[in-house]
Symmetry: D2
Subunit: 406 residues, 4 copies
């Protein structure tokens, strides 16, 4: 059932995306097509110069979405890309239609659609997803498939639920339909069972549930996550280490976000919002080495912006002899424009990790995440420059891939 | 004439400051006294935890200024510290009166005063300064003296002037009064001749004139500089590497500074301003790896702020598929509050470098500077996190100090 | 029981303040003393040049607070004024100690203290307040007393409660202790019964409960309110009319406030917060003439700031041919510094209104308020420039004062 | 030679634009076409609801430009409008080609082109322009023609030049080619001689030269100007009156502008820049009633923005008891999007003024200008709300138009 770990970059690399019709996914898909046409440069792609990874134009997309719109139509609705950019790649985008999603409004109230499979037990849904994945691999003749979660944020399950404690408990929970098993976990489980690497770019709990982390280790499948680090948290993990370098004490940090896309709407649900702010808040204290009591993080659904996000930060600093200073940052960014190229890099990196025989949480990919997965409860590294160094060291490491133990 | 390189931290460490009555110097002096009283914490002091450096309370201050005001009075006038803070250390601050400065309005038009020695040739002025330094060492019983330039920015001399090409040419220029020899260089020369380490915290040309760099190497004296990295450039050297990490292309960077202290007034002189903007502008292209054509740096003398500086930056970014974003940073900082603790660290580090027998430009102190000195024309490292790593590696390096070759 | 409406400015004007120990009140009291000493100018006082109002140094302060600290001590704790400013007026500030407050934690959970009278029915508390007011007038030999509400924001009562429908119903509710009768209303009632003008500078419901508005009319007492317009709303009522003048359509307006003083703490109680955001949100749609669907107002209790408030606004605009623009405003203001002088002006204006025989809600004082009181359900004027014109026209209106009907 | 003042709104109203190919003009022309198509709303048009003015779709455009590109092509190059918007009106825009401009690089170094007439004396150029205007009126069957200056800013002539002192001196100067006579004045002169109203939307000296103001009065032609009030100055004239209302003293005001369009390039010429900053700086002191010593206005040519201008302001305020506050405004605006609809309104208003027989500087149009023209050296009104009131009062004034005295 496992894919063999090959000797060189795979030739055709599949990306099976949960949330294929969303703003990030459609931007990523269009981006690959525009790169193929040579009509855009390497902006936003941190690893564009790496010849040791699968090239972007070897990527083949498929995936699920609650909307059945083809990807050209979906991209138009999101308004991220210029109409002319969508036009240029419309023939290929129109051919891509999402498979029916396994969604459940109980876990993500803000987002729904008609292209949804709700019938059956979680076990049956998992089987359905596995069948989708096998079909995708076969029909497209793919060497490797990476499963990527780009769906809207789900509510946070109880992390101590017995159903999530071990692979065995999880299997039973799948059968009986335990409410601790969220849709995101069903996708992650299906990927692992198919031996396909899994990336969680959202704050939802996916393969980081203990049962699934353990399963990934056992099955020898690499996983990475979670919650893409794109805007405000990116800057936080850049600035906080610098403030610490200069011994400027952070007395308070106030962060607010304005965003008006589908993800923002999902976050109007307080349960989903709780998932999001949890991953956003974790990094600061770890980076500074002391707790910041007045660390406030707000996310506001504000429609005039659409996908054009604004992240405004205010930092209150104490310097020499107790004197106070303020630092304010206003990042007028674009959520999907920042996220999509990172997704492309992660798909390529997970394929490389698979090739090298890596298994379980891939700590060296923490560079991309707000809440980097670690093994054995280790505190993750959040500082961007140290994350980058670790990633590059891993990429530059040569030698034979580890043996994959079944 | 040289101080011997000792075996352990010096017990009494002198700091001879050019510009002792200025806002940075008075803040540094008061800071040492307040630290002695235990009335403030380690904020702003990056190396506060290092037991291997001379402790702050071993520092003894002396120096020159164009104003003869005692340091308590000077501190009141600058308005950096709270009146209560100055009051707490007034007895010691009042005893400190600057020695007459070797100033020349031809080099720094904005700043002048009554406590000035203008008579004589540069050679005679250099001798005067050397006598001041020897007297300071002897009277205070100092193990080591570090000379620190904190004076207002001078106009930039012609770097290709023959007088600055070699130690020999410089000696002749001192005798004949060549206009390429600025007051800052006279101080630097005097320090080197006394075997005392020299730090240039300003954008003026000091020991980085080729003749003096060569002299420092020959005499075995460590020197460091130049132009303290405190506010806007600090953030630039933190953010630019991060933007490069994420492959976000910088299309333009606009920086403006509002400041109203004595340094700001000095920069109303276009010649001094040219020195300043030169050191501020250099880092960005090196950090990014490509030239930013629209990189504008403005410095405005704006009196309502006094020492409370405001640095406003706008960065125009290009991301994935050519989409544009903006990043704005507003740093409401305090010039002297940021600078003074760095000066204290540099004095301690130069004493340590002296002890270790280091000579010439100390690249490992680039962490503190906008235009870090390098040897042999090497391009300096500007990224704060790499500068910090290099500094800490140097500090952590054990083993016997290098032999000082005379 | 009514004060006679006199012929000229009163000579000794009393201000009886609910919340006398708060940041605004202590700043106002110290301000009057500093003005008396001639050590400050007319900044912040819009009507400083009006000779037709009672002079500032004729003001005499008294009032209630949940803390019994004298006003010098209270001012030190608030940290609004410089220590030297408090020192200069300490002898007089120390003599002022608040009377025990009629507070009730059920209405304002965030703020409490030891100097509180909780015993008795609302009726008994009202009698107690009336006795305080009569004592104040007699002991200080005051011509007029104005009662000012500066207490922390209370939760909002049900505006349709039968107890608030008429003076008669209110009287009965006082006797039986109806929960619709809040502490703020008890103070307002007491003031009216004593024939003393009443100003509500807070968002709490005071004399604007229908029963009390009617009572003010019947008794011939002028009242004004509510919720002082100092920072963010001030700017909103300046900018919105200008945007309308230029036909720039407001698509969204996001406002956030950071503040760390006692008022901020009170607003951590969601019930109090609801009162506050209600008065802040009302103005915008009225000013623009259409509803802004994405108008978000946030208030954050953020301790590093203390009384130094920050109001950050972002406005999304649509201009010619549908093109979008953004306007951002960051007001680094000081809550009490803005509010205190307006309180002084209002006390003087209410005394003048009393002298002129005005009764009930004083619409011409809308210049000072976020939610200006109107008569007969009229929509209030919010545009600052029109409010100012109306105020000045009223002040400039000459002729005999109206006859006061008992 | 004069047009008769009619009885009702003209049916076909010509706008002859100096700088027809510029960003503002092409936006205005496209805007009229898009309004005709019903594909945009009244945003940006302050007088859209006035039925007493000539309707927008009665406007007919012609004019001069240094580039001969048709207006569709020019609009594409400016990048102000969406490609789809230009496409929608391309058939009509393509038919519009600018007439050859009377330009002179000596007066505006930054901007030049191939579609230029340089031959001849100023007199001959004026005759050429008059012929263009007569041809335009006749060929298009226009009832009224208004001449609008939208060309890039010229250098400022010596206002005391004898050639500009009287109509007679000006006529002689035209004949002999006096350098005090700038291209902008030649256009203004031609308009006046043709009896056509003239609007100066730029900071250049046009009909506000004394000789031409006098000529406008004598010939009975209404003129208006100068320098459209669109972005930063608009906000300044809104905020400054409000700060004065609240007695908040302005200690400093720093304004910087980033813009990257053709106008920005023209302002790289220091002589043109001097014209611009002069009109921008004048208003503040008048609005506040006292001089602001630290009022700095900067304009930066910054290409990444193109027509998307950013105006950043910082205001230092002093409030009650001398306490300091800061107000910062960041206006991410669009130069041409703000300007173009005001140009449309001015053309309609000047036609109405012509109809009413108004002559000389039209003070009631000060609402639109940074440096409103006044008669007899009066200080102009700068406060936006008072300007608006005056404009609306004029519009609402009924009764027979004044008799035009020839």
């Amino acid at each position: 059932m496992h894919e063999p770990a090959g000797d060189g970059p795979a030739r055709r690399l599949g990306a099976a995306v949960v949330g294929l019709g969303g703003a990030v996914a459609t931007t990523a898909v269009a981006g690959v097509e525009l790169l193929r046409l040579g009509s855009c440069g390497p902006e936003g792609l941190p690893l564009a110069a790496r010849g040791d990874l699968v090239p972007y134009d070897a990527l083949v997309f498929g995936g699920w979405d609650v909307s059945a719109d083809d990807l050209a139509k979906a991209a138009h609705l999101h308004g991220v890309l210029d109409p002319a950019q969508i036009e240029a790649v419309a023939p290929r985008m129109q051919q891509l239609r999402p498979w029916p999603a396994v969604a459940d409004p109980a876990y993500c109230r803000g987002v729904t659609g008609a292209n949804v499979t709700t019938a059956g037990t979680p076990r049956e849904r998992a089987e359905r997803i596995r069948a989708d994945l096998r079909g995708f691999r076969t029909e497209q003749g793919l060497d490797t498939v990476v499963v990527v979660n780009l769906a809207s944020t789900e509510r946070r399950p109880d992390p101590a639920a017995p159903a999530l404690a071990s692979p065995e408990a999880f299997e039973e929970a799948l059968d009986r339909g335990d409410e601790a098993v969220t849709p995101a976990m069903v996708y992650a489980y299906a990927a692992l069972r198919e031996g396909m690497p899994y990336v969680n770019f959202t704050p939802s709990v996916g393969a980081d549930a203990p049962a699934l982390t353990e399963l990934a280790e056992r099955l020898g499948v690499p996983v990475a996550g979670k919650d893409g680090k794109t805007g405000q948290t990116l800057l936080k993990t850049v600035l906080a280490p610098a403030l610490r370098s200069r011994a400027l004490r952070v007395e308070g940090w106030y962060s607010t976000n304005l965003l008006g896309n589908r993800d923002g709407r999902a976050l109007e649900d307080p349960d989903s919002l709780a998932s999001k702010t949890a991953t956003k808040g974790a990094a600061l204290d770890a980076l500074l080495g002391y707790p910041v009591e007045d660390h406030l993080v707000r996310i506001e659904y504000y429609r005039p912006r659409g996908d054009r996000k604004e992240a405004w930060d205010n930092v209150d600093l104490v310097g020499f002899l107790g004197h106070r200073m303020q630092l304010k940052i206003d990042f007028l960014c674009r959520d999907s424009v920042l996220a999509a190229p990172l997704v492309l890099e992660l798909v390529r990196l997970l394929a490389e990790a698979r090739r090298r025989g890596e298994r379980g949480p891939q700590e060296q990919f923490g560079f991309f995440f707000k809440a980097p997965a670690t093994r054995d409860g280790r505190v993750p590294e959040h500082a961007l420059h140290r994350q980058e160094r670790r990633l590059l060291e891993w990429l530059d490491r040569t030698g034979a891939p580890e043996v994959v133990r079944p």
